[in-house]
């Protein structure tokens, strides 16, 4: 998303009227040199990055829209479940709901950002800053909430004795509030600087600061917390004599493996790019780097469609609620099709929601 990535700061928010190019051409100079005494082939031209462009033509319209749609459906289902079928009762519920909200906002901001980048920010500079800010905020809150879920499971399983005191609804709401505030705080550079920089020094600093924060706070911090918590969880589970434990261990391993598989490649390319950003590079290398970034970024985006499956729908209770939603949708559509009249959406199974 993005040449959409958060590291491409600068020109992003500019609208059409702001071309800063100083272009001079002289059409009246009739000098007739044929040989200018230099080899045309030694020139370093601006990089076209044609491979990356070709790749983006496929990834942009097809793969990103599939990710957005799947992410939208999955995360809305989680939110609908909590809204109409299952009140958030435990700490985990609160976290799962917040992760779904963060992921949903993320997939909603994504198409708008891509659309605006195509048409030089028709929605204006404010929309540009807002959308990129929302994108960045949800990236951070999403990742940090996954870390919160891992600590919650750690407390529930490893520190079971303290868990009644520590895992209250109030605590989890307070923690979620702080996670969102923190995510907003880390996104402030994006809100402020997603435009043309005022000086070279701010440009250099922010161009390094934003990807470094993303790598440190948006990847390594949650990764460290998750690895610590889930390792302890697995060790405790292995000691327990419970038939369910193998399934639990597999779930934990899947959660960590998917997290690493989705985000490690993207963060490595971000790191590589940040390290080499201000060095001179050959166009071929830059192109390969951009291709790697487009591919790994797409894999990272995929994570927001996998979260509902990995965290919510893997639970038996949640799956039952989910089955009920599908049934209700199905019943409603049956009535709708057979009678060709509008229906208020309530079904006869006693559930008390109306849409």
């Amino acid at each position: 998303m993005k040449s959409m990535s958060m590291t491409n700061l600068g020109v992003k928010c500019r609208t059409d009227g702001q071309e800063a190019m100083e272009n001079l051409t002289d059409s009246f100079d009739n000098s007739t040199y044929d040989d200018y005494g230099y080899d045309e082939y030694e020139l370093k031209e601006p990089c076209e990055m044609s491979n990356n462009h070709r790749l983006e033509l496929v990834v942009g319209p097809y793969i990103h829209s599939i990710i957005c749609i799947l992410g939208f459906i999955g995360n809305s289902l989680v939110i609908i479940t909590y809204a109409f079928y299952k009140r958030a009762k435990s700490m985990t519920d609160v976290y799962l709901l917040n992760v779904a909200i963060a992921d949903l906002l993320f997939v909603l901001a994504l198409p708008l950002i891509i659309y605006n980048e195509e048409y030089s920010w028709v929605m204006g500079t404010a929309a540009c800053k807002l959308l990129h800010g929302v994108y960045s905020m949800n990236l951070y809150s999403g990742m940090l909430l996954l870390a919160c879920i891992s600590t919650d499971r750690y407390i529930a399983i490893v520190q079971a004795r303290r868990s009644f005191r520590l895992r209250s609804l109030l605590y989890s709401r307070v923690i979620c509030f702080f996670v969102w505030v923190f995510a907003l705080g880390v996104s402030i550079p994006t809100f402020v600087y997603y435009e043309v920089f005022t000086s070279n020094n701010t440009a250099w600093r922010v161009k390094i600061l934003v990807p470094s924060t993303q790598i440190a706070v948006g990847f390594f911090l949650p990764l460290l917390i998750m690895v610590f918590c889930y390792t302890s969880v697995i060790i405790t589970l292995m000691r327990a004599k419970n038939f369910q434990r193998h399934k639990a261990v597999r779930v934990v391993l899947a959660v960590v493996a998917v997290f690493i598989a989705c985000h490690l490649p993207y963060n490595i390319t971000l790191l590589y790019e940040a390290v080499n950003m201000f060095n001179q590079q050959e166009c071929g290398m830059v192109d390969i780097q951009q291709v790697a970034k487009t591919v790994t970024k797409t894999i990272a985006y995929l994570h927001c469609c996998l979260n509902p499956v990995l965290y919510a729908f893997i639970g038996v209770k949640f799956r039952n609620h989910f089955r009920k939603i599908v049934q209700d949708l199905w019943v409603t559509s049956e009535i709708y099709v057979s009678t060709r009249r509008s229906v208020d959406g309530s079904s006869d199974n006693g559930s008390s929601f109306t849409m």
Binding site: S3, N8, G10, V11, R14, A20, M21, E22, N23, L24, T25, D26, F28, S31, Y36, G37, Y38, D39, E40, E42, L43, K44, E45, P46, C47, M49, H53, E56, L57, G60, Y62, H64, S65, I69, F72, S76, I80, I114, Y115, E118, S120, F197, T198, S199, N200, A203, W204, F278, Q280, Q281, E282, C283, V286, D328, L329, S333, S342, V343, G345, M355
Partner: protein, 100 residues
């Protein structure tokens, strides 16, 4: 529930529409400098790339009379000499046009 299905459908169409119009309009950037010197009389015009925008290095891009673009280092003397010549040329055109 009908509402939800309509919403999903609408979003699907919107997303596909938005992404389908995606054609790359990413600007090109200089990532390295031309070694050696280009004679000023081989240069037709120039543009400026700054680190303050999308690109990551400062550069002067010269457009040669043979229709090529050359990224050059603004820290070098000859680059600014050629830029000055182009500026003077523009000033001359200005003077001539405003007198006439």
């Amino acid at each position: 529930m009908v509402l939800i299905r309509t919403a999903v459908l609408a979003l699907m169409l919107l997303t596909i529409g938005l992404f389908a119009s995606h054609t790359s309009a990413v600007s090109e950037c200089c990532r390295s400098y031309t070694r050696g010197i280009i004679p000023c009389n081989a240069i037709k015009g120039y543009s400026v790339q700054t680190v303050k925008e999308l690109c990551h290095i400062n550069a002067i891009i010269f457009y040669t009379k043979k229709g090529r673009a050359a990224c050059t280092n603004p820290a070098l003397g000859w680059v600014m000499t050629c830029v000055d010549r182009l500026r003077n040329k523009a000033q001359m055109v200005h003077n001539r046009t405003s007198q006439a």
